[in-house]
Amino acid sequence: MASAALNEQLASLMDSMYQEGLLDEQFQQLQSLQDESNPCFVMEVVTLFCDDAERIFTELDKLMSQPVVEFQQVDAYIHQLKGSSSSVGAQNVKLACVQFRHSLEENDREGCLQALNMVKREYLHLRGKLETMLQLEQRIQDYDKQKK
């Protein structure tokens, strides 16, 4: 049955995301807050997180391309991203932010650029998987609705 196959695919994807450290138990809390009266909660939070992360990357790119980098501002943005990734359970992104803040302490532009690239990489990797997850969930929902 298509639904069972889809559910299996989703379960397998989720497992791999937890195993790879993309997600931690905080994401499970998000899922537990989704219910019939809030059926899109996870998708809404994920969307907000992604929009916010991308906004932050845009600002960081601007800051890092200045002749004199305002490291304090950079730190403030990374602090925001670290906070939001922690709250949604985006573990690897959060860890990459922690790393970034360490390199900020050196005030070393090159080191920071590398660390920023790492954060972006982790974020993009996560975003791709989250998109797949949401698509699978949508297909399952649609399929279940059709059956009724």
Binding site: Q26, Q29, L30, S32, L33, S37, N38, F41, E44, V45, L48, F49, D52, A76, H79, Q80, K82, G83, S84, S86, S87, V88
Partner: protein, 181 residues
């Protein structure tokens, strides 16, 4: 920015159905003996955090108003310095608890806490401060200023349920209730 931009302060009733609703302390009893859910004002500059905390609070059956920064929170309480009339009291708004992030641009959660505690109309409102950083001097500073508790993010459902113990009550002075959160 108009003072009353509704998108930045939102007020919604929590789920109030069934079993947990109205149990324990923190309810408001009016003449018809109907318990209203406790009203929490949640302040955080992050849109994601506001969404999360709102959902957590509503799932614990609280009514929630969110504000994106300290200024908006003070505005909601009628505590801005340039307010022409400061006649709003907490009997009008019935805010049972304020929960605020510590790290916010402009006015920190600590500064917001101070303003609330300095106000004759609102100083009795319990304030809880939250932060993603475990900074002991920050915690101490807030507790000394009158914060009832300092919580670490990300908040769990159990943290939010526990808030019920701190909630301000608006009914007749009731006896101490056991915190079973």
């Amino acid at each position: 920015m108009s003072p009353s931009s509704p998108s930045k302060i939102s007020s919604n009733f929590g789920n109030n159905g069934g079993e947990g609703g109205g149990g324990g302390g923190g309810g408001i009893v009016d003449g018809s003996d109907q318990l209203e859910p406790p009203h929490v004002l949640a302040v955080d500059d992050s849109v994601i955090e506001r969404k999360l905390i709102e959902r957590l609070l509503k799932s614990s059956e609280y009514k929630v108003t969110t504000a994106e920064n300290g200024l908006r929170a003070l505005e909601y309480l009628g505590l801005l310095e340039d307010a022409k009339e400061n006649t709003l009291t907490n009997n009008d708004l019935k805010v049972s608890l304020v929960i605020t992030d510590y790290c916010m641009p402009g006015m920190t959660g600590y500064e917001l806490l101070k303003k609330i505690k300095e106000s004759s109309n609102f100083r009795e409102i319990p304030v809880v401060v939250m932060s993603s950083e475990k900074n002991p001097s920050r915690v101490e500073k807030c507790l000394e200023e009158g914060a009832l508790e300092f919580m670490f993010k990300p908040l769990q459902l159990s943290d939010v349920k526990r808030l019920r113990c701190h909630m301000m009550k608006f009914d007749e002075p009731c006896n101490e209730r056991l915190c079973v959160g």
